[in-house]
Symmetry: C2
Subunit: 400 residues, 2 copies
């Protein structure tokens, strides 16, 4: 008997009617002879509404208590789904993080799952019950309720699949993973499958279909993850380890863009590794996430250092940089950037992808402001006005 | 340092603004040098709204899952109150039933508290934290979430006060316990104090200020319980063991009425203890709560048996009685009754209360349909039209 761990997102359980539909889907899989664990998110906008409620109490809610508050959203939808399945004549039981000991560590609001007590889940499955587990939440070593961060229910589902050696199905409001965001490129192709690493790169680049940590976890334990619509015949995407052989003909799998960053350039700073690393340490201390970094060759032992940060952190970052600016050293800000990335594990074995990309940029008059690369990804900062043109040129060339 | 266990009802924490007011009251008591544990109910209509949500899933929600669902209401208000106290610069921590191991047994929806792990609460108090505990909920021996029934947060508060050897304050939307419901008798007197047993009788008779089990528990461990308004100088009522000495001059402490019952009479049934006890067993099997029972003297070895039951259970009860009715035995129903009770531990030592009451009934033309008595209570079934007159006559005579 196969064990399937399904996860339903907030929009899939947004109303009592939708919860009843999920119950029907679940029961259908049970009828086909599977053992099911179902992880649910909070209904619809519940999490946002709870945050708004906390903000009415205080502008800066205590983080332990905020996690305790938010965790109630998933408990509600769990209990309701269990009721709905029982009302269809099938046995079901809801479990909170406490009940199946989803142990976490790390900070409130972004805790990491250390372990799950799979015995209680297995016993319930062996008794023929559908197990409904609260996503997004855990219990830390002090016994406090914690949450895993936005999208954390994906990670709960994958973690349970790991512990039960099952397969994982993530049901969401998109019908799969696309090579390019379909809202930005209408001919975007849906992928039948994608490698864990590619998916990880795309997730961290703004393709917000899945919680990045859930993909890392699936990759680590080699758990295949299906992503798609529930109650639908439309085939979604399987995230798994993809055989390199299939990929030689397609070096680039996907493309992602983000307009959420700003580029900062520190001009004419001394080319002294202590000064420059000290600058980045101060930025890191404020938990500001620096992404692309580039440095020009020194002239008169002075260099220009550019880097991108999230727009939201600009003010805080400029406060840090103030102490570095003087008559010589100037701080430039460029808010007009789009981060444009192409991803593909085929790049490992296919040479010339960068060259091809630059040729296309040159032919189409697309200016590149910064560039960084990893083994399976190339990211450029371009002007925002060039975004759509770039997507079209690159997607067409690489058949995305 | 005194330990005070306070309980705030749903209307006291109905909005973020009200929660902030409760936080201020709590902080004031902390400033005066007390250690505080605060038990909260769910905000406003939360519990009713959650029940309505469950009913949208199924007409008959699974009881385990309904308890799991309802328990989230108190978790929410707990976390919000802890945030509000922290925002005022005082340390606080919220605990669910799971975290302080409020162990329960019995049925879902009306579980009984077996034990509470007071160590975790004491440790937090010793660190200078205000402890906010979720009322109304517990965990049974299978590790399931349970609830204690409507008003169960009172019992949570008293139970914690017992374990910590503290005093208990119940804050609600009435300013104390009255000898008569002030909505029915405008001259009703508020009581400075009332004995546990009197309060128990009044509670079970329809004076719904407090959860009956909380009073039983307070009585068993001799914990005084204050009932009143929060944030108010108006003095409430203390429920405690009242010295009989004070009471000789006042045999009757309070009066309660209920229109929620119906009287059933089975006429001309054989005066056979087996038949009659079998009838009541069948009624009890359906969990129908029989209150007043009276039986006429036998004529030709036939008797009339009358008893009252809650109106809600009438249909089910009649289904049972069908098998007893025939050409001889008839079932009469009287929906026009008010249960009228007077309560006072002074009755134990004062004779003639019944006689005085009957004299007043006779003089005022009040018909008594049934009567039952206990050591500290007399209950009559009267016609509903006589209710207000009876309240006035009796309240005036006994100075209530």
């Amino acid at each position: 008997m196969a064990i399937i761990v399904q996860k339903y997102g907030g929009s899939s359980v947004g109303t009592p009617e939708k919860i009843k539909n999920v119950a029907k889907s679940v029961v259908n899989k049970v009828k086909s002879g599977n053992k099911l664990v179902v992880v649910v998110s909070a209904m619809g906008d519940t999490t946002d509404n709870l945050i708004a409620l906390a903000k009415k109490i205080t502008d800066n809610p205590d983080k332990r208590e905020l996690d305790a508050l938010l965790s109630t959203g998933e408990m509600k939808s769990c209990a309701l789904l269990a009721m709905a399945i029982k009302a269809l004549g099938y046995d079901a039981v809801s479990y909170t993080a406490y009940q199946i000991r989803i142990k976490t560590s790390g900070q409130y609001g972004k805790s990491l799952i250390d372990d799950i007590d799979e015995d209680k889940i297995k016993k319930a499955l062996d008794k023929g019950k559908v197990v409904i587990a609260a996503g997004f939440q855990g219990i830390n070593h002090e016994g406090d309720v914690t949450t895993l961060g936005r999208g954390g229910s994906d990670t709960t589902a994958v973690a349970i699949a790991v512990k039960l050696n099952g397969t994982c199905e993530i049901y969401t409001d998109v019908d799969g993973i696309y090579s390019v965001d379909p809202r930005e490129y209408k001919d975007a192709k849906k992928l039948d499958e994608i490698d864990y690493e590619e998916m990880l790169e795309l997730s961290s680049l703004g393709a917000q279909v899945m919680h990045s940590r859930s993909i890392e976890l699936a990759q680590k334990y080699n758990i295949p993850v299906y992503v798609g619509l529930s109650n639908s015949d439309i085939r979604g995407t399987i995230i798994r380890e993809v055989d390199d052989m299939n990929l030689e003909s397609k070096p680039v799998t996907g493309l992602a863009t983000s307009d959420e960053d700003v580029a900062i350039t520190v001009r004419n700073i001394d080319n002294d590794i202590n000064i420059i690393s000290n600058l980045f340490e101060k930025v890191a201390d404020k938990k500001i996430n620096v992404d692309m970094i580039s440095q020009t060759a020194p002239i008169d032992n002075k260099v220009n250092v550019s880097f991108t940060i999230p727009k939201d952190d600009l003010k805080e970052c400029l406060d840090i940089l103030k102490s570095y600016s003087n008559n010589e050293v100037k701080i430039d800000i460029d808010e007009d950037i789009t981060k444009f990335s192409i991803v593909g594990i085929g790049m490992k074995t296919t040479s010339g992808v960068v060259a091809k990309m630059f040729k296309l940029f040159r032919e189409n008059d697309i200016a590149v402001k910064m560039i960084t690369t990893s083994e399976i990804r190339i990211t450029c900062a371009i002007n925002q006005k060039d975004k759509i043109k770039t997507i079209n040129v690159i997607a067409r060339e690489f058949n995305l």
